[in-house]
C-alpha cells in the first residue's frame, strides 16, 4: 500500500480564556488583540490527530502549515511535539488582513510549494472567525475535491477513501479519490496528549518560515488588498442584563417571578 502524505492547516487563534479582554478600537473599528496569548483551535487538533493516525496506519508524512504573524510558530511547535514531521509558517506583513479567500489562496500556494499532498486536513471551522470557508476554498485553489463536516474516514484502497459528511439529523457517505481536502469535526477522534518523547522530537525538527515571495503568490490576491470582503463596522456584544435578584422564600420568589414575567408579556397565554 502506498504511503499517504498529509498536510494539516492549523490556525493560530486568540486564547479563548482571554476573549473578554479582546476590546474594540472604536476609531479604527478593529479588534485589539495585543497581549492576548495565542492558542491552537480545538478542531485543528482533531485534524492533526487524524493525519497522525493515517500515517501510523499507512506510513508517509505529516506536515503542519499555518499562516500567521511571526511568533505564532508556537502553534507549529505543538504540532511537532505531537508528532508532525515538518512544519511551515507562512508569515509576511503582506498576508495581514486576509479574508477567507485570501487566506485559502495563500495556504494553497504554501501547500503547492510543499509539493502538494494526498490529503489536506483542516478543522471544520476556526475558533475565532469560524466561517468554515477556508477548507472548500483551499480545495478550489488546489483543484481538489473537498468534504467538510467529516466525522469519519475510511481508507478504501490506494487511491480512494470514504468520508462521512455529517449533516443536520443525518449524514451522507461519499467515496472520493485522492488528492482530497477534508475538514473534520470534533467527534471524529480524541486528540492525543504531548509526551516527553515529543519534546525531544521538537529539537530535531525545524520549523520553516516562508514569505509571500518565497511561495510565489500573486501579490494582488493576498492580504487585505486581495480580499474581496471588507469589514465596514465591528461592534462587541453586550451580554449584561438587568441582574435583578428576587429575594424571599422559594414559593414567594416563584410568585414574584411569575408576576414579573407576566408584566413583561413573555408567558404563554393559557
Amino acid at each position: 500500500m502506498k504511503p499517504i502524505n498529509s498536510v494539516v492547516c492549523m490556525k493560530p487563534v486568540p486564547d479563548q480564556r482571554f476573549w473578554d479582554k479582546v476590546s474594540l478600537d472604536k476609531k479604527t473599528k478593529t479588534l485589539r488583540r495585543a497581549g492576548i496569548p495565542i492558542a491552537l483551535g480545538p478542531l485543528d487538533k482533531n485534524a492533526l490527530e487524524e493525519a497522525l493516525r493515517i500515517r501510523e496506519a499507512r506510513g508517509g508524512k505529516v506536515t503542519a502549515i499555518s499562516m500567521g504573524p511571526p511568533g505564532t510558530e508556537e502553534i507549529l511547535e505543538w504540532a511537532i511535539v505531537l508528532g508532525a514531521d515538518e512544519a511551515v509558517l507562512l508569515s509576511d506583513p503582506a498576508f495581514a488582513g486576509a479574508d477567507t479567500l485570501a487566506t485559502a489562496y495563500a495556504l494553497a500556494w504554501g501547500i503547492k510549494k510543499l509539493g502538494g499532498a494526498d490529503i489536506v486536513f483542516l478543522g471544520n471551522e476556526s475558533l475565532d472567525g469560524s466561517t468554515g470557508q477556508v477548507g472548500p476554498q483551499v480545495a478550489e485553489f488546489l483543484n481538489m475535491p473537498h468534504v467538510t463536516h467529516v466525522s469519519r474516514i475510511e481508507l478504501v484502497d490506494d487511491d480512494t477513501l470514504r468520508a462521512r459528511f455529517h449533516i443536520e439529523y443525518g449524514f451522507i457517505d461519499v467515496e472520493v479519490k485522492k488528492p482530497v481536502v477534508l475538514a473534520v469535526e470534533k467527534g471524529i477522534n480524541e486528540p492525543r496528549c504531548p509526551t516527553l518523547w515529543g519534546t525531544v522530537w521538537l529539537r530535531e525538527r525545524k520549523i520553516s518560515r516562508w514569505s509571500a515571495d518565497e511561495i510565489g503568490v500573486d501579490k494582488t490576491k493576498i492580504g487585505l488588498s486581495g480580499s474581496p470582503t471588507q469589514v465596514s463596522d465591528v461592534t462587541t456584544i453586550e451580554l449584561k442584563r438587568k441582574g435583578e435578584i428576587l429575594k424571599g422564600e422559594p414559593s414567594d420568589v416563584a410568585r414574584q417571578l411569575v408576576q414579573k414575567l407576566r408584566a413583561e408579556n413573555v408567558l404563554p397565554k393559557g
Partner: protein, 331 residues
C-alpha cells in the same frame, strides 16, 4: 447599467422536501430585491423536484432556476458547485444567499472561490446601505463580536445565513412564478465524489431554534433524575428543553438537538430560564437575542446572574417545583 442583477436564494431541499431555511431566505431576499428594485429568484437543484417550483413561487420567488437531474439527487459539492458556477456565469446575479446549513456552508465557499468573489459567513442580519451596497451581519468570536461585512467590487455578493433568523413570507396560494430549466452538461465520469450511502433521522420535535420559551439545564442539575424537573418546567410553559455542554456529555441531554451556545444552537425565545448553569460565554452567546433571561443557581456569584434579567439564588430542587406550581395557578 450594472451588468449583475437580481437576488438569488439557494432553495436547499432534502429528499424532495424544501428546507425551511430556503423559504426564510426568500422572505429576506424579497425585501432586499424590492429595495434594489430587482427580481428575486430561487435556485433549485435535485432529482424529481419540479413539484417544488410552485411552492417557491408562493413563498416569494419571481423566478425559479430548476436543475432536475439524477446526478443531483443527493448533494455533493462537486456537482452542485460546478452547476452553480455555470449558472452564475450565464445569468450574472447581483446577490446570492444560501442557508448556513451543513450543505449550504459546504457549497457556498467553494462557489465563491470558483467565481472569485467574497462570502459573508453565517449572517444573522442583512441590509442595504446608503450606497446601495449589500451588508451582512457576521458574528465572530463565538458571537461576542458582530462585524458588518461588505463585498464592494466582486459579483455576485455572496452570503450564508443562519437558519431561523429570518421569517418566511405568508404563503400566497396560487402566486405565479417563472421556471427556467437549467441543463446539466456534465456526466457521472466528470465527478470525483460518489455518494455511497445516506442516513436521515426524522425530526420529531419542534426545533429549539423556533421555540418561544426555552428552559435550559446545566451541570448543576446533577443527574438524569433531576433533569425531569427541567423538562417539567418546560412542559408547563409549553417550551423546549435546552442544555449546556456538560449535560450533553453526561448523556442527560442530546448534543445535536439540545446544546445551546457557540458550538451548538442559537435560540431567540421570548423567555429563557437557565437552571444550574454557571454562565460561560460559550453558552451565553447562544441566548443573547432572548427577550427575558431568568437564572436559577445556588451560587450567588455565578456569572449568569449578570447576564440575566431576573435571578433566583437557590437549589433548583426547591425552586422548580414552586415555580411549576406558581405557573400552573397563574394560567
Amino acid at each position: 447599467m450594472k451588468e449583475h442583477k437580481g437576488v438569488w436564494v439557494f432553495a436547499e431541499q432534502r429528499g424532495g422536501k424544501l428546507s425551511d431555511v430556503g423559504l426564510e431566505l426568500l422572505g429576506i431576499g424579497r425585501k432586499i430585491a424590492d429595495k434594489q428594485q430587482e427580481g428575486l429568484a430561487a435556485v433549485l437543484m435535485g432529482h424529481k423536484v419540479k413539484p417544488l417550483v410552485d411552492e417557491l413561487g408562493e413563498y416569494g420567488a419571481d423566478r425559479v432556476y430548476l436543475a432536475d437531474n439524477p446526478l443531483l439527487e443527493v448533494y455533493r459539492s462537486d456537482a452542485y458547485g460546478r452547476l452553480m458556477q455555470e449558472m452564475i456565469q450565464q445569468y450574472k446575479p447581483n446577490i446570492l444567499i444560501m442557508g448556513a446549513t451543513s450543505i449550504g456552508a459546504d457549497l457556498a465557499p467553494r462557489v465563491a472561490a470558483k467565481v472569485n468573489t467574497g462570502l459573508s459567513a453565517h449572517c444573522v442580519g442583512f441590509d442595504v446601505d446608503d450606497k446601495g451596497q449589500f451588508v451582512g451581519q457576521v458574528p465572530g468570536f463565538g458571537g461576542a463580536v458582530m462585524a458588518s461585512v461588505i463585498c464592494p467590487n466582486h459579483y455576485p455578493q455572496m452570503a450564508t445565513a443562519r437558519p431561523g433568523f429570518f421569517e418566511k413570507l405568508e404563503r400566497q396560494k396560487g402566486r405565479k412564478t417563472e421556471a427556467v430549466n437549467v441543463d446539466v452538461k456534465f456526466k457521472e465520469e466528470d465527478l470525483s465524489i460518489k455518494v455511497v450511502g445516506t442516513f436521515r433521522e426524522e425530526v420529531k420535535t419542534r426545533p429549539l431554534e423556533s421555540a418561544d420559551v426555552v428552559v435550559a439545564g446545566g451541570y448543576g442539575v446533577g443527574g438524569k433524575e433531576n433533569w425531569k424537573l427541567v423538562e417539567e418546567l418546560a412542559e408547563v410553559l409549553g417550551g423546549g428543553v435546552g442544555a449546556t455542554r456538560p449535560p450533553c456529555d453526561e448523556g442527560w441531554a442530546d448534543l445535536e438537538g439540545q446544546m445551546i451556545g457557540q458550538s451548538g444552537k442559537t435560540v431567540r425565545p421570548s423567555l429563557y430560564i437557565g437552571v444550574g448553569i454557571s454562565g460561560a460565554m460559550h453558552h451565553l452567546v447562544g441566548i443573547k437575542d432572548t427577550k427575558v433571561v431568568v437564572a436559577i443557581n445556588k451560587d450567588p456569584n455565578a456569572p449568569i446572574f449578570q447576564a440575566a434579567d431576573y435571578g433566583i439564588v437557590g437549589d433548583l430542587c426547591q425552586i422548580i417545583p414552586r415555580l411549576v406550581e406558581a405557573m400552573r395557578v397563574s394560567f
